[in-house]
């Protein structure tokens, strides 16, 4: 029963990883860019929400209405002034440019907000600690359920957008062949701009849940990037639903690892990620 609980908590933790990985997975799927600033961008959104909650006493839920569009606008600017140019520089430049951006963001946040760890949990009432008891051994946090639900909802919404809408078709076509879409009247740069805006809007939602479920500080971004990347890689690059399964595999691996030995929580996650890579190498299938 205790083991079952560990497993269940792992699944919920995986929901969180999938949530922070949505943006990374989507951007890679569309533009073939691994955004190394992804974690820092998530943390930036968390700080924006924190400032609105802490200084202006705006509920994080309400603040999201402002922060999501703001981050989307930032995404458009990011594409217009950084990624567009980086993409033309070859395979390595987007990595270098986004890594530089991550350093700028992390340290600028540190200079602005200091080293203190923050959390949004004081601003969301009982939600942060409420839970349902299923049996004596198994309890499920309401926040955990909300996060897993949000991850599924966000991935579902993006999949639906891609499959069913005009802009979705344009994004898929551009992802396949940015040169040819121009011949049918689509400006690939504009599509990339929208895609990056969408990616950063998703990062804003991820930032909200990062800040609500735990604590964060200016240097939390690196770890978020790693977890998100592991979820995407385990689930398979370019597959949105794969990212959900990848996140869950990562969360379960960490919890199972921790139940064997408490210090091996992260080790088990990293080892799982590397094992999947080794497995793919052995099978001769490596993407990206």
């Amino acid at each position: 029963m205790i083991f079952l609980n560990q497993l269940l908590q792992g699944v919920f933790l995986g929901g969180y990883y999938a949530l922070i990985a949505c943006s990374l997975s989507f951007l890679f799927g569309v533009m073939r860019i691994v955004n190394l600033a992804h974690g820092s961008i998530v943390v930036l959104a968390a700080f924006l929400l924190f400032v609105l909650a802490d200084r202006f006493e705006i509920s994080p839920w309400l603040a999201l209405i402002a922060v999501v569009p703001a981050m989307a606008a930032l995404g458009w600017l990011l594409q217009r002034f950084v990624l567009d140019r980086a993409l033309r520089g070859g395979l390595l430049v987007p990595l270098l440019a986004t890594f530089g951006l991550a350093i700028v963001l992390d340290n600028a946040l540190f200079e602005t907000f200091g080293a203190d760890t923050r959390s949004l949990s004081p601003f969301i009432g009982d939600l942060s600690f409420d839970s349902w008891s299923l049996t004596d051994d198994i309890t499920v946090g309401k926040m955990d359920v909300l996060i897993l639900g949000s991850a599924v909802a966000m991935l579902g919404a993006v999949s639906l957008l891609l499959a069913r809408t005009r802009i979705g078709r344009a994004i898929r076509a551009t992802a396949e062949d940015p040169g040819t879409v121009e011949l049918i009247g689509i400006d690939a740069r504009a599509v990339y701009g929208m895609a990056t805006a969408l990616a950063l809007a998703m990062a804003a939602v991820a930032g909200a849940f990062l800040a609500m479920r735990a604590t964060f500080d200016p240097y939390t971004g690196g770890a978020q990037l790693i977890f998100a990347f592991e979820a995407v890689a385990i689930g398979g690059f370019g597959s949105l639903w794969g990212t959900l399964w990848g996140g869950i595999a990562l969360g379960v691996a960490q919890n199972v690892g921790a139940s064997i030995d408490p210090s091996s929580f992260f080790i088990a996650g990293h080892v799982t990620f590397l094992a999947v890579l080794v497995g793919r190498v052995a099978l001769g299938r490596v993407a990206a």
């Binding site: 890679f28 860019i33 691994v34 190394l36 950084v82 140019r85 980086a86 520089g89 395979l91 390595l92 430049v93 990595l95 270098l96 440019a97 890594f99 530089g100 951006l101 991550a102 350093i103 700028v104 963001l105 992390d106 340290n107 600028a108 540190f110 200079e111 690196g222 990037l225 790693i226 990347f229 592991e230 890689a233 690059f237 210090s263 992260f266 080790i267 990293h270 080892v271 990620f273 590397l274 890579l277 080794v278 190498v281 490596v286 993407a287 990206a288």
Partner: protein
């Protein structure tokens, strides 16, 4: 057609370089303690810049996890010294030991590409950090120190570390230079330009990348061990920090990725920036990140690459150039 490698310019430069190394070698006898320490740090920076450049600029492999080897190098020195290897020998051997370990790491990681390799290496660094923390000798983040150094007088310690750093820097640069000028250099460049084409021309892509990867790992590990020799204390967090890779990327991008001299110039610039602005909080890190971002977008060959083009500079010739065309 007449082809040449060495130009009078590069000959003069090499001679000047040799003279400079000789002057530096006798440095500790008349430098102040502070200058000796700072120069030791500079040599480590040069190693880091040159090694990251070897990997990215010549191998086309962007890694954000080179701190793995930096940290492992320091850890290996601790372990070797703990096993009663004389302390400076331990520092010297640590890099080579990690180089052997990197062979195994490379076996998996080198099959990855682009972003997958980049972040994959970061995961390797995190994993290495976590595993080192498990060692009872290290005691988690508490860390330990290279205790054996306490037996040596501060003055002598400073000089030994300086000499060892200088020697490591010169040796690593010489090895890299020799490799790039030989057959491997041509293979590396062809892989960077077009991996598939290189492979179809009979270049063994994996074997070539492996050599560069192991060299870069060994170099970064030596740098980590040398850093430990100056700092004495080993706190895993400080050594396995991604900050080290950020420094390497800054040095390489600003100096000039894919040029031999660029990262050396970049290391000197980084050294100056750190010396003058390092005390003012982390704003200088914001500046470093912004510089890396700007150079990658607007001056992709860095300062040295731009100078090289502008003034036809050839200080350390890696390739050949046609000096006189045969008349048709």
């Amino acid at each position: 057609m007449k082809v040449q490698r060495w130009t009078p310019q590069s000959g003069v430069f090499i001679a000047a370089l040799g003279a400079m190394v000789l002057v530096l070698a006798v440095g500790p006898t008349w430098f102040s303690a502070g200058v000796t320490d700072r120069l030791s740090a500079l040599f480590v920076y040069v190693i880091l810049g040159a090694m990251w450049n070897a990997l990215a600029g010549y191998g086309g492999l962007v890694s954000v996890g080179q701190q793995a080897f930096f940290g492992l190098g320091a850890y290996a020195a601790i372990r070797l010294s703990h096993a009663d290897v004389p302390v400076y020998l331990a520092v010297a051997l640590a890099g080579l030991a990690v180089g052997v370990v990197s062979l195994a790491i490379g076996e998996v990681m080198l099959r990855l590409r682009g972003g997958e390799f980049a972040v994959g290496m970061w995961v390797v660094a995190e994993l290495a950090h976590l595993l080192v923390n498990l060692d009872p000798l290290v005691q988690g983040e508490t860390g330990t120190s290279l205790i054996a150094l306490n037996a040596i007088a501060a003055e002598a310690r400073r000089a030994y570390t300086y000499w060892l750093s200088l020697a490591a820097m010169v040796a690593l640069l010489a090895v890299l230079f020799a490799l790039l000028r030989g057959r491997l250099g041509t293979a590396i460049q062809s892989i960077r330009d077009d991996e598939r084409a290189a492979s179809s021309l009979g270049v063994n892509v994996l074997a070539t990348k492996r050599i560069v990867f192991v060299l870069a790992a060994t170099g970064c590990a030596m740098a980590g061990a040398l850093w430990l020799a100056s700092a004495i204390t080993f706190q895993p967090k400080a050594y396995f920090s991604v900050q080290w890779t950020a420094y390497m990327i800054f040095m390489t991008l600003v100096g000039g990725i894919g040029t031999f001299e660029g990262p050396i110039l970049g290391a000197i610039l980084f050294f100056l920036v750190e010396t003058f602005f390092g005390g003012r909080g982390v704003w200088y890190l914001v500046g470093l990140g912004a510089a890396a971002l700007a150079f990658s977008l607007f001056l992709p060959r860095g300062i040295f690459g731009a100078l090289e083009q502008r003034f036809a500079l050839r200080l350390l010739p890696l390739g050949f150039r046609v000096v006189e065309r045969t008349k048709p």
